[in-house]
Symmetry: C2
Subunit: 339 residues, 2 copies
């Protein structure tokens, strides 16, 4: 019994074993109809015997495409990004494209990493706070299809995002309706376009209340908790609108440590509707995370197809996916109030 081939066989070996040329092997394996059924079968079995798989780099080099696309995101922490990436992967995979991921998190060389990635894919999706617009513009103008996700538009580049300001405004108005008069927005609008949009909406919806901006640094639980320590001993607002759920949950923790009741002594709201929000009774806003990723992947694919075909490039698209207010207990009692 022959030893199984331990390293990769080449198309030449298959050709030799099948007694044909490499051109024929290539055709046979890709179901070209320029090969006899009989030949095809001979090639097939030779390939099987040698455990042959075409070299991806060789294929890509010859075809001039990678059959892969990439997504760049800040972090995978927090269910938010994970869901988006998942939606992206599922859609990309469905259209036969492999997916490369890159988390820029605390990376100092994010721009370089993104450029490197750009060389490995047929198209790139870039999320929020990852790299500067210049990097994006550079890549896009080099001819690589790009889709922006949860991020301010760049000239000529498609953008998909979730609604921020409208729902944020509704949220703020809801709080005011509860009778809250000193409201604090916890989060740094400079941290991400999403946060900026939310803050803008909150401002618009806070007429009749005093709104204070506290720039918490970071969007995780501990950031929220730390910021709250400060907040609850000084400003003492009666409502805190947080940039996202994790921060809000941190505030909830701090509040309980300070013996504050929510919502009686302090109303708290978040953004994202994480699983935890439900169990914490947190009023928040739901985003179509999966759909965000899926839409980006779909659009990117379209651009890639456009690129290869000779159709004239269509104008940059923009879409804002709807978000939804999720009222729970943390924003105030709803026994008597109806909203």
């Amino acid at each position: 019994m022959a030893m199984k081939a331990l390293s990769k066989a080449t198309i030449y070996q298959v050709a030799q074993l099948a007694g044909v040329s490499i051109a024929t092997v290539s055709r046979a394996l890709r179901d070209s109809d320029l090969v006899t059924a009989e030949t095809r079968e001979r090639v097939r079995s030779a390939a099987r015997e040698l455990n042959f798989t075409p070299s991806r780099p060789a294929r890509s080099l010859a075809e001039g495409r990678h059959a892969a696309n990439g997504i760049v995101f800040p972090d995978l922490i927090g269910p938010y990004y994970a869901e988006v990436v998942l939606g992206y992967e599922a859609t990309a995979a469905a259209s036969g494209s492999s997916v490369l991921i890159l988390a820029t998190n605390g990376r100092p060389d994010a721009a370089a990493a993104v450029r490197e990635l750009a060389g490995r894919v047929d198209g790139l999706t870039v999320m929020g706070r990852t790299v500067d617009d210049e990097v994006v513009a550079g890549i896009a103008s080099a001819g690589l299809p790009v889709v922006l996700l949860a991020r301010d538009p760049v000239d000529g580049v498609d953008t998909v995002r979730a609604g921020n300001s409208g729902t944020a405004r509704a949220l703020a108005e809801h709080l005011v309706g509860h009778g809250h008069r000193t409201i604090t927005f916890l989060g740094d609008p400079d941290e991400s376009p999403d946060v900026a949009g939310r803050y803008a909406g909150v401002r618009a919806g806070s007429k009749g209340a005093r709104l204070t901006l506290v720039r918490g640094k970071g969007l995780d639980l501990d950031s929220g908790r730390r910021a709250a320590e400060q907040l609850l001993t000084h400003e003492k607002p009666d409502a805190v609108i947080c940039a996202n759920d994790e921060v809000a949950l941190g505030v909830l923790l701090a509040a309980s440590e300070h013996g504050l009741r929510v919502p009686e002594d302090l109303a708290v709201t978040g953004w994202d509707d994480l699983l935890a929000a439900r169990f914490a009774g947190l009023t928040t806003v739901r985003q179509p995370m999966r759909e965000l990723g899926a839409t980006a992947a779909r659009w990117l694919n379209r651009r890639i197809d456009e690129n290869s075909g000779e159709q004239n490039r269509t104008a940059a698209r923009r879409r804002i996916l709807a978000t939804e207010l999720v009222i729970r207990q943390s924003c105030g009692s709803h026994e008597e109030v109806r909203s």
Copy 2:
């Protein structure tokens, strides 16, 4: 002003513009010390002017390596996988490797997708319930470095996982210590090696109690909730040990709908220590998710280096990372009981 090059320049164009051969360009750009500082600079600026980036496929083809590795996981839903993947990505990136992801979720052609992926990377990490051992063995025996994650070992392949049975046993004993006598394990041991390990541990720790196995199908919130409906109207145990947190949270929801108090009427435990568990007061087990991913990436890299170097291959490694019991309120009152 010249138009920026809209498509990619090749090394030939750079060579021509710099007035040198492509060999020199290659050297200059890769900081070989076989080039004059002056030449290097000339090449550099030519490359910059043409906005040149070496073609990744061409490089890979010539070098015989991808400078990338991949990770295969069932799903990205639930913070568990997300954290693992993140830890993986961070470590892989730190060692200069791009990361390809593949979610096999409900994919019918998972095996084929994994094989495709295998052709794009220098090494592969395969998680839990994704593809059969045969697929893994096939890939590994073809010479591709593989690391298994949260999965039963395969001959000759490295395996990293988190402790299940020991901690599960401690968990069960804790419940028995609370006085619970009819315990149900909710989860299908056939669903994943992890669940199997947990069930085994629970069995060992349930001496003195009546243990029932209820094979819930699925590891998400709704599965838990549905299974609980059944459970709470029939078996009526006084404690439910769930395969993971999401299922447990589903049970919590169902219990509250049935007007059952937790833990007085029903004790519930989970596994993973999701963020939500904390806010639900859920007793659970914490896994070092990030570290699982990081370890896999590190090991894979070592294997890849071994492969290229001529060092003799070391024996397959196995490691079980420690997990930790996290006692909260859902398992029983701790006012009087001390554990």
